[in-house]
């Protein structure tokens, strides 16, 4: 087991966004989180990475076990160092080159020497098809290129699991394919991943397990086949019909 989370609760003011969510992730497993906007998918990932502090919840990851609502800054940091996040809006460091973005975490944590970090950075950039763009700055890249740098940055840290928060939602349609292609290649080499996505067809293709989050709870879960091809849950049926009918939102 890579990680196991139990009973995650998160409130924003009086509004309960997540109401007792469980998640476990096995080695090499890809879990897709789907659900309507505002159902708490992104919040769930952000709580996992301690970008939001949970109100309740218990997390086990690698050799760490902790109460998520009581975590100190030091514990949060320890968890973050086992995970990596790919952000919807990329979140590339504007004051670093493309290569600098990928090596930044390694250099800040002093995991590797500069030469070793840059060596790894170049390899990863080549992997995501960005060899030759090492010295560019983020604002000189297309959306698709930015997100591929975001993925390379996440991989550089050799995390236990990669968390992807709607990695294609901010992209113009023309760039979605190239980013999905990179994520597909990660799935095929058995990287443990949790991906929040609106791309239902893509979730069906790469996920081992799909979770349908609705109003702060996991309303249904299962293999992509049973969940997506034969939905029993009425809210899931309605959601899928809406998506297939093209009422996709990008929030």
């Amino acid at each position: 087991m890579v990680l196991e989370m139990k009973g995650l609760v998160k409130n924003f003011g009086n509004h309960r966004v997540l109401d007792g969510v469980d998640l476990h992730l096995k080695e090499g497993e890809v879990v897709a989180l789907i659900g309507p906007s505002g159902s708490g998918k992104s919040t769930m990932l952000r709580c996992l990475d301690f970008l939001e502090q949970a109100n309740q919840g218990f997390l086990e990851i690698d050799d760490i076990a902790l109460d998520m609502s009581q975590a100190t800054e030091r514990e949060a940091l320890a968890v973050r160092r086992k995970l990596s996040m790919v952000f919807q809006h990329y979140g590339l460091f504007a004051n670093r080159t493309v290569l600098g973005n990928v090596t930044e975490g390694l250099l800040a944590q002093k995991t590797l020497s500069r030469e070793e970090a840059e060596e790894r950075g170049r390899q990863l950039l080549a992997r995501v098809g960005l060899a030759g763009r090492e010295e560019s700055y983020p604002n000189q890249l297309s959306g698709g290129q930015k997100q591929r740098v975001g993925i390379a940055r996440a991989l550089a840290l050799e995390p236990k699991a990669v968390l992807l928060d709607e990695p294609t939602s901010a992209l113009d349609p023309e760039w979605v394919g190239e980013v999905l292609q990179v994520i597909r290649s990660l799935a095929s080499e058995k990287r443990s991943m949790v991906i929040v996505t609106h791309e239902i067809a893509f979730a069906r293709e790469i996920a081992n397990r799909v979770l349908f989050l609705d109003e702060g709870k996991i309303a249904a879960q299962g293999s992509p086949e049973e969940l997506l091809e034969n939905p029993k849950h009425p809210r899931l049926q309605a959601f899928l019909t809406g998506m297939l009918g093209g009422v996709s939102d990008r929030g």
């Binding site: 970008l51 952000f87 809006h89 504007a94 800040a108 944590q109 700055y137 983020p138 940055r153 840290l157």
Partner: protein, 228 residues
């Protein structure tokens, strides 16, 4: 109708330039200290658990809301009355100290607003690659904030250069002090004050040029936000 004497005017420059080291030292030292202090103030005022926040708000408000001359007089002539130990600080030290405090109030406001304009996802991304909060601030957020803050910080520096003109009232032989003495000794007020005006103007122009260069250098490669 009097006359303008070119040789007096040129001689005035020579006299005034002898005050330049003091002016330059006061302005540069005050700016350096103001940068450090002002950045710290901005960071403390941002942090949620800061206890001294109210005090710092009052501090910034006081130093921005009262004339530099009043601050100089209050510190140099006023405070030693209460704390005699302070009278051991000479006019140069007192000038630099007061101008540092004054400048730090302006710097803190410039840094505060530029920190607020850095996209919050920059901090989140830095945390997500395993940095601690202060590391993320130092490596990612502050450098971007400073880039945005360069133009207002340039204004603060020019303000401090001009502020040094007041320090002659504490008896300092800065360029203004030299001009005042030269004018009083020769009765050639126009020549001396015109010359000292030009000196300040040149200093401000130099600072502006340096500021532009810095702005251009820092924006090379990455102009603007990493947005969608």
């Amino acid at each position: 109708m009097g006359s303008f004497d070119l040789t007096v005017f040129l001689r005035a420059f020579r006299t005034i330039m002898r005050g330049l080291p003091v002016t330059a030292l006061a302005a540069v030292a005050a700016m350096a200290a103001a940068l450090v202090l002002g950045t710290l103030i901005a960071l403390v005022r941002r942090s949620p658990q800061a206890v001294g926040k109210r005090l710092l708000t009052a501090y910034v408000s006081f130093f921005r809301g009262t004339p530099l001359m009043v601050q100089l007089f209050l510190f140099y002539f006023g405070l030693p009355q209460l704390f005699p130990a302070l009278s051991t600080i000479g006019p140069l030290g007192a000038s630099i100290l007061v101008m540092s405090l004054n400048g730090s109030a302006y710097v803190s406001e410039a840094v505060r607003s530029s920190l607020a304009s850095v996209d919050p996802v920059q901090m989140e991304a830095a945390l997500s690659v395993g940095m601690g909060k202060s590391q993320a601030m130092a490596r990612i957020v502050l450098p971007q904030a400073f880039r945005i803050a360069v133009p207002p910080l340039g204004n603060t520096f020019i303000g401090l250069i001009q502020g040094t003109a007041l320090t002659f009232m504490l008896g300092l032989r800065d360029v203004m002090g030299m001009a005042k003495m030269g004018a009083a000794a020769s009765y050639r007020f126009f020549e001396f004050y015109l010359a000292v005006g030009l000196v300040y103007w040149l200093l401000a122009a130099g600072a502006t040029w340096f500021n532009r260069r810095l702005e251009m250098r820092l924006s090379l490669g990455h102009g603007g936000h990493d947005g969608a």
